[in-house]
Symmetry: C2
Subunit: 203 residues, 2 copies
């Protein structure tokens, strides 16, 4: 245990990494992936053509993965975390920082840089609150029939009655009938209120 497997096409970056970890560092090929799962740490440079696939594969095997980028960005970091990475930092980070990241990730932690970490926390707080409130967004929403729900969701997308009728292959009159029962069951007045209430849901 304790081995570091590095995947990057850039020789200079690899050199920096090796200075940080000494003889524990090994430049690896994708074929050596299973090694990373055995208690070691896999470092993947986004410059690698298939970095996303590598991260996903290694994470699925239970390996700890750190993604490095010469041009770090929020979307890329989130993409990495989504794929299972537990660390994300600058590819040219100092050896000290790299060792910090290694320590954190290998012990089950997350390392992403202060600003992104703050952003994640800020994003999660309202999301959890929204999930709690989404448990009862509309009182009688579960009492809706399948057809009524279809109409309600189409309306919530902003379609007119005529458009909904066309999508469902029924008359506009029928749409209005379904919509009337939806309003009655959920206690909503407008289609606008319905759209606003339905649009606050878990994506």
């Amino acid at each position: 245990m304790g081995a570091h497997l590095f995947l990057t096409p850039d020789a200079r970056i690899l050199d920096g990494w090796c200075r940080a970890f000494g003889d524990l560092a090994r430049a690896g090929s994708p074929a050596a992936l299973p090694d990373a799962a055995a208690g070691g740490l896999l470092w993947v440079d986004v410059a690698h053509a298939d970095w996303e696939g590598l991260v996903r594969a290694a994470s699925a095997r239970g390996g700890r993965v750190v993604v490095l980028s010469a041009m770090p960005g929020g979307e890329q970091a989130l993409r990495a975390l989504e794929l299972g990475a537990r660390g994300y930092c600058h590819a040219f980070a100092t050896p000290e920082l790299l060792r910090e990241v290694a320590l954190v990730v290998r012990h089950g932690g997350l390392w992403v840089g202060p600003e992104l970490l703050a952003r994640m926390i800020r994003a999660t707080v309202p999301a959890v609150a929204a999930a709690a409130e989404a448990s009862a967004p509309l009182p009688g929403l579960d009492t809706l029939s399948a057809r009524e729900r279809e109409v309600a969701e189409a309306v919530a997308e902003g379609l007119t009655n005529k458009q909904v009728a066309g999508r469902l292959g029924i008359t506009e009159r029928t749409v209005k009938a379904h919509l009337a029962t939806v309003f009655e069951k959920t206690g909503v007045r407008d289609r606008l209120q319905l759209a606003l209430r339905l649009s606050r849901r878990q994506p």
Copy 2:
């Protein structure tokens, strides 16, 4: 450096922590807070009456804080992270796990348990995407005049033209005029579309 300062009213929990960290562990009083900022780690039990204040104060001073709970929960964890804590785990966790958490947090990482970590990532991905899209939610939204924006936001709340007129102290006709220019500037057809587009923004 390396000292652990524990704040809990429960003697059994304190005993468990001391077993985990040996003579590095010290039961502390809130008055000893500044110590935690000096390279050490502050552990706060949510059983403490003012745990939120303690976490906030210590974090503001730059200290690394771990929050422990005998009954861990998502909302509580998020609350702790929001206040500046960088670790959250069960108060009766094994000494091994506590040492892992200590290692991670002290080296700048985040430790929150796998399920919450996954939830945070899932919550952040759409939030970041929404933020990116919110940069241009409506093409000409910045070209709206102050009055037009007022009308647009009132409409986005679900008010009718008459209600908007009452709120702004103008005629319903004027509301329709402003709304017409809002539609024209933003390229939106309906008030419903406007409400849906405007409701997708940072809360």
